[in-house]
Amino acid sequence: MVNVISGLAFVLLAAVFWLQRDYTSQYGGTFPDPVIILVAVTGLALTVLGLFRRQPVDPGEQVPVSGLVRAVVLLVAWIATLPILGYVVGGIVFFTLTALLMRDRRPDLKGIALDVGVAVGVVAALYVLFTQVLVVRLPELGL
């Protein structure tokens, strides 16, 4: 089933790119067009193969769905709020949240203080290193 879904996703992707074609020069499509066609053809091939062959799933690579949702929601929220919270505030907030959510047991006050302390230390140290020493710009607070 995984192969069928993957194959169809590639065909769909090829279709989306094909519909976006709007070349203005003679050679604009010389390279992308064959690539799009090959993406579609290989996607179809995988779909057909998937219909006739079952793909074994490696149990060692499986992760709990609730954990997966937690991870993706955390990362999306972190990146989405980056233009508003900036690197430092966003980093401290989400570093702490991630550390707390990754604990096996409910943390006590001391545990929370430790996670907040580590978050502040790591984020502040990296911020100073990059902005002051290496002169690399980082997202600032947008509030």
Binding site: V2, N3, I5, S6, F10, L13, F17, Q20, D22, Y23, S25, Q26, Y27, G28, T30, F31, P32, V35, I36, L38, V39, T42, L46, L49, Q55, E61, V63, P64, G67, L68, R70, A71, V72, L75, W78, I79, L82, Y87, G91, F94, F95, T98, A99, L100, L101, M102, R103, D115, V118, A119, V122, V123, L126, F130, L134, V135, V136, R137, L138, P139
Partner: protein, 517 residues
């Protein structure tokens, strides 16, 4: 030349220059180890500091920094599956599985040894082969660059051990992503879906961080920890280091072959370490007696990749110093510094400024040697730190660094978003059996292939059949033959292995029957 070489060695033995080499190597390693901060960016930051220096001292510092940065990329590739630079993509393929097996220290030692030998071979090539190889590289036209990209793509056949079809699909996906934005020739704005931010295309570094790092972070957070094998603490035993060095030394061919590949690929402008490490990895796997171990924690894979990428440092300086054509982006920065100092690249540079040039070249060799003690202390220290760090701090720590890496290139939060989207897609694709390496390979080679293809067609536009120019030039024919061999060899090997397995089964069957009877 011999006198100039001896003079270069003596110059580099001066305490001040030795200190500069040490500082440059250590600083380069630190920058290279941070995902997203490339050798090019680090060199660009370092250039203003060299203005106050004597030209020789400035160049020595920059050369040592470059050598260290390429090596430093291996640390994060091995420890957290985040190649610090594109030159370390292949290092992650076996280095990270070694970490997952509790063998990260062995991988760091392998990377150090490979980088040392690669760095020295690259410097030797620079000293002895510079003029003839530089002339040869000038014979490469657009058609040849197209075929080099095609040859690079054939490596997918080796990179994917599970499904060749999925490997090629990954490569095609990378090529497709590479077409987003302004076309390299002609300037068409393509596949931007109405977003002006995508006009610049999908940047390589955020894509690289997304594909390799984000899936691991997702797994760490989702599982609330890492796999049991990863937290196995390795004993701090120097005999293990010597054991690894002896083991790698027992297969010198891998070191030498990978270093030669790195030197040669480094000469070709535009290719550099990001292509060399994958080509060397491919050849090491193809030549190995146990290709099935590659991708699962084979130390020779790490050694091959690291030998090749450090060899590109010396190789890349061949066209830079002799022709003024930089082999890689960091070479371009160092070329700029040469020009700023009033030095003109060319054959006469070796005569008029021989003392400076050879001091610089020997400094590269000193830096390669300096990487061993600095790398083994810093690299093993970092390794112990990462292994001992609780996963609840490691995962957000990687995200904090990844954000810097993705953002720093263009100071754009969109690039951070691109990293996340590609990371989540990469996680889903990995779950469906797609390896991230072919996608990255497609992304790197896409623009090289398209530029070669379109420029080749344009240069042959006067002919009635411009396509034939891709099949009639001698170097192109050699590259086509190598590409065909590269695809055919793994297929032949798999076919012969299956036949041998079938033969063994047939041989076993009568015995089983007789036992039953």
């Amino acid at each position: 030349m011999f006198e100039l070489l001896v003079d270069g060695v003596l110059q580099n033995l001066r305490p001040y220059l030795l200190l500069l080499v040490l500082v440059g190597t250590a600083a380069g390693m630190a920058i290279g180890a941070m995902p997203g901060l490339s050798a090019t960016m680090g060199l660009a930051l370092l250039v203003p500091f060299t203005f106050a220096m004597d030209p020789t001292e400035g160049l020595v510092l920059l050369g040592a920094f470059y050598m260290g940065a390429i090596y430093g990329g291996s640390f994060t590739a091995i420890l957290v599956n985040a190649p610090g630079t594109p030159s370390s993509i292949a290092t992650a393929l076996d280095g990270y599985p070694m970490t997952r097996q509790g063998r990260s220290e062995e991988a760091i030692v392998g990377a150090t040894m490979g980088s040392l030998v690669g760095g020295l071979v690259g410097v030797a090539a620079l000293i002895f082969l510079a003029p003839p190889l530089a002339d040869f590289s000038l014979r490469f036209g657009p058609q040849e660059y197209f075929w080099i990209a095609v040859f690079g793509l054939t490596i997918i056949a080796t990179l994917t051990s599970d499904s060749l079809l999925k490997g090629f699909m990954g490569g095609l996906l990378g090529l497709l992503i590479a077409t987003i934005g302004i076309a390299p020739v002609g300037g068409d704005v393509r596949f931007t879906f109405g977003s002006p931010t995508l006009q610049g295309g999908v940047p390589l570094i955020p894509a690289l961080i997304g594909l390799f790092t984000i899936p691991e972070v997702i797994k760490l957070i989702a599982r609330r920890g890492r796999e049991a094998e990863m937290i196995t603490t390795e004993k701090n035993d120097i005999s293990r280091v010597w054991g690894t060095i002896r083991d790698i030394s027992s297969r010198p061919l891998n070191l030498v072959r990978s270093s030669v590949i790195g030197s040669v690929v480094g000469i070709l402008p535009g290719a550099g370490g990001s292509v060399a490490n994958l080509v060397a990895y491919n050849e090491a796997k193809r030549a190995s007696k146990h290709p099935e171990r590659y991708g699962k924690g084979e130390i020779d894979g790490v050694v091959a990749s690291e030998s090749a990428n450090n060899a590109t440092v010396g190789g890349g300086f061949i066209p830079t110093l002799t022709l003024g054509v930089p082999g890689t982006p960091p070479d371009a920065i160092i070329l700029g510094v040469l020009l700023l100092q009033g030095l003109r690249p060319g054959a006469q540079l070796f005569e008029t400024s021989g003392e400076l040039v050879y001091t610089f070249i020997i400094a590269l060799a000193f830096s390669a040697v300096m990487m061993v003690p600095v790398g083994l202390i810093a690299g093993r220290g970092l390794q112990r730190g990462v292994v001992a760090l609780p996963a609840r701090y490691l995962a957000p720590g990687i995200v904090v660094l990844s954000i810097v890496g993705a953002y720093a290139i263009r100071s754009s939060t969109t690039d951070v978003l691109i990293m996340l989207v590609i990371g989540v897609v990469g996680y889903l694709l990995a779950g469906a059996g797609f390896n991230p390496a072919p996608i990255v390979l497609g992304l790197i080679l896409g623009s090289i292939a398209e530029t070669g293809l379109v420029q080749g067609l344009l240069t042959s536009a006067g002919s009635s059949t411009p396509w034939t120019s891709f099949f009639t030039r001698p170097i192109s024919l050699v590259l086509i033959a190598i590409s065909l061999l590269s695809v055919a060899w793994p297929l032949y090997r798999e076919f012969s292995n299956r036949r041998a397995a079938a033969r063994n089964q047939t041989d076993d069957r009568p015995a089983t029957h007789s036992e039953v009877d």
